[in-house]
């Protein structure tokens, strides 16, 4: 079954699900700022009016933040904006403009915003330049308040629309509710941005990172959003809409039907037990993950704790965050990965200089080695939190044994410090590594005896092995998990793990794709960590599989010369074996 690919845009799959509905395009209204002079005796009243607007704006934002407290979401996203709203400079300078020039409050504030924008613009630091948008957001809210305008937002959106926006502010995200909004598509955003996290936790399908949306989509256009594949189709023909509607109903039905597999073990007919784990970004997602049958957390990324903020999270804040995770998933284990931020996303305190090629730059464990103080604080927090559950620590971007030795050394020093200070620490905390560089895969036999577990991170491993940036449209078609080079690397990592007697798992998208689970099982991957919603289907397929037939498929595949032939062979085989499960899935590929 093939679908005509018309006007299909590819973005980043942010939150799964299919939605079909009319576009609601969020256009930023251009505020026309009134500019007039006031008389000298009105000055005090005008300053008061400005102060009141600041106060009201603050109260409003605080109310929104308060309303989001229960959800445990995004409250801290507001922090940068509050910092600026509370900052005396804005109000002081704007008031001075009123007093000295007899300007009306809106004009006075607007002038101050321009001055700040020019100042920020001239700064060499990209992080500060970006914060200029936080200031602009805050000023805009105050201006709207001064002018008696309601801030634009999703509240006015009719029920059952697909929201199209450049980006959604925190205040707008707070207004998202399931049922009201069918799906969200944005120009900005990434896998870890706020839009993604909020949409996922509300189970609203979302695709982010789609350029030129707002300009090119008219209100009311029928859109198809496929949050699994990360694509958006506008102006679809009726046949395409019908096809996706069928697929949507099909997936929903399948999901309901599959949920009964959630509580069953992922065990093949000949008794091989695979552990299915969940990748999560937020504690909020854990109940979902358990509902879908996760037997623990295979990857919790700590980047979110560090992003979109002015300062570093201190040790206590980190302890709280980690304890929440560990407690929520106990008695299952949670694999928490130490900080892996690219240079572009760091809070100001730990940003290095700009790097021409961040993917090959200072990130993951390399960053930890170059900034040991940050690493140490994180490890201390992790160990202090370890008493709340079953913690495993994962090191990202390892490429050599010295990095593992370094981390072990710091970990044992930190443990000694804590124990000496009488802090309770779990007696056993495993330390594992991500294998996501070809170097680590090739020396897996050297690394495996030094660690307690291995997790293969396929997203990066593939990019580095195939030398393909999957965000680059010219070469993204070369990004293929079933490439023989990738299969060979996985095989040798599994062999090294077996010899060292440690578990080899996999996180990354390959692990959650039901098409790959036979191959991975036959290669010897014992734990698969994925987006929670993928777990039930994977369990079903594994339960109807035997290791021996998976091995036959692997044998056949390893003899094939190219990724394309391997994919065709696996697709054909899996479609034949699981027609109901794959029929509805494959067209999206």
């Amino acid at each position: 079954m093939k679908l005509a690919r018309i006007a299909e845009r590819r973005g980043i799959p942010a939150s799964p699900g299919i939605a079909i509905g009319p576009a609601f395009v969020l256009r930023r209204e251009r505020l026309v700022i009134p500019e007039y002079r006031i008389s000298a005796d009105q000055v005090n009243a005008e300053v008061k009016r400005l102060e009141r607007a600041f106060r009201d704006t603050r109260e409003r934002l605080e109310a929104i933040r308060e309303g989001m407290k229960d959800t445990g979401l995004v409250a801290d996203i507001f922090d940068a904006q509050f910092l600026f709203l509370k900052d005396p400079t804005l109000l002081e300078h704007a008031s001075r403009n009123i007093r000295s020039e007899c300007l009306n409050a809106e004009w006075a504030l607007q002038l101050e915003l321009r001055r700040l924008e020019m100042l920020f613009e001239s700064m060499s630091d990209a992080y500060i330049r970006e914060r200029s948008s936080d200031v602009a957001f805050v000023v805009r809210r105050v201006l709207q308040c001064l002018m008696g305008r309601e801030p634009e937002g999703l509240r006015n959106a009719p029920i059952g629309v697909i929201v199209v926006a450049e980006d959604l502010s925190t205040a707008e995200l707070a207004q998202l509710t399931k049922g009201h909004v069918l799906a969200v598509v944005t120009e900005g955003g990434s896998r870890t941005s706020h839009v993604t996290i909020v949409a996922r936790s509300l189970e609203i399908p979302a695709v982010v990172g789609l350029p030129d949306l707002v300009q090119s989509i008219a209100d009311g256009t029928t859109l198809i959003v496929d949050g699994h594949a990360g694509c958006l189709i506008d102006d679809a023909e009726d046949a395409t809409i019908a096809e996706f509607e069928k697929r949507r109903l099909y997936i929903e039905a399948l999901d309901r039907q599959l949920l009964r597999y959630a509580d069953l073990p992922a065990e093949t007919r000949d008794g091989v037990r695979i552990r299915t784990l969940a990748n999560v970004e937020q504690p909020l997602e854990i109940p979902h993950a358990l509902e879908y049958g996760a037997e623990g957390i295979g990857l919790y990324r700590t980047e979110f704790l560090f992003m979109n903020r002015v300062d570093l999270p201190d040790e206590d804040e980190q302890v709280d965050a980690y304890m929440e995770i560990l407690g929520a998933v106990a008695p299952y284990s949670a694999v928490i990965r130490t900080l892996d931020l690219g240079g572009d996303k760091l809070p100001i305190g730990i940003r290095g200089g700009d790097e021409p090629n961040p993917a090959l730059g200072l990130r993951g464990v390399r960053m930890s080695m170059s900034r040991p103080a940050i690493f140490r604080v994180q490890l201390r927090a992790l160990l202090r939190a370890s008493v709340a559950g079953n913690l495993k620590i994962l090191l990202p971007m390892v490429a050599s044994s010295s990095e593992v030795d370094f981390a072990r050394q710091v970990l044992s020093e930190v443990r000694e410090d804590l124990e000496r200070a009488g802090e309770p620490v779990a007696s056993r905390v495993e330390l594992g590594i991500m294998v996501e560089t070809p170097a680590a895969a090739l020396i897996a036999d050297i690394l495996a005896p030094r660690v307690d577990f291995i997790s293969i991170g396929t997203n990066d491993l593939l990019q580095y092995t195939l030398a393909v940036d999957r965000g680059n449209e010219h070469v993204s078609y070369l990004y293929e998990p079933l490439h023989p080079a990738n299969l060979r690397l996985i095989r040798s990592v599994c062999q090294a793990g077996r010899r060292a007697g440690i578990e080899v798992g996999m996180c990354g998208e390959m692990a959650g794709d039901p098409l790959h689970c036979w191959i991975l099982t036959a290669l010897g991957v014992g734990q698969l960590s994925m987006a929670p919603f993928s777990i039930p289907l994977l369990k079903k397929i594994l339960r109807e599989t035997s290791l021996s037939e998976a091995r036959v498929l692997l044998e056949e595949v390893l003899r094939l010369p190219s990724a394309a032939e391997i994919r065709a062979h696996v697709e054909e085989h899996m479609l034949r074996r699981f027609p109901a499960e794959f029929e509805g899935m494959l067209p999206s590929r």
């Binding site: 900052d87 200031v135 940050i374």
Partner: protein
Amino acid sequence: MSRIEAEVQIQNELGLHLRAAAAFAKLAEGYRCEVSMRRDGLCANGKSIISLVTLAASKGTRVVVVAEGDDASEAVSALTELIERKFGEST
């Protein structure tokens, strides 16, 4: 009412950037006195992150911390110590 000044050198790698400015302003906020920071004829409100950042004081810049008010001397000693501790920034 007293006025206290102290000259210090910005020593952290990244200079008086946003995080450092936030730490400075937050600490300054805790004192009743007025706090400002001067550098080469520029003067910033010590309780305002925006204002501090616009000084663009990079590593090695000498700045003067000025406090005016009852608790000025406590404020200046705490704030200069913060700068000397490199704003608690990890290296």
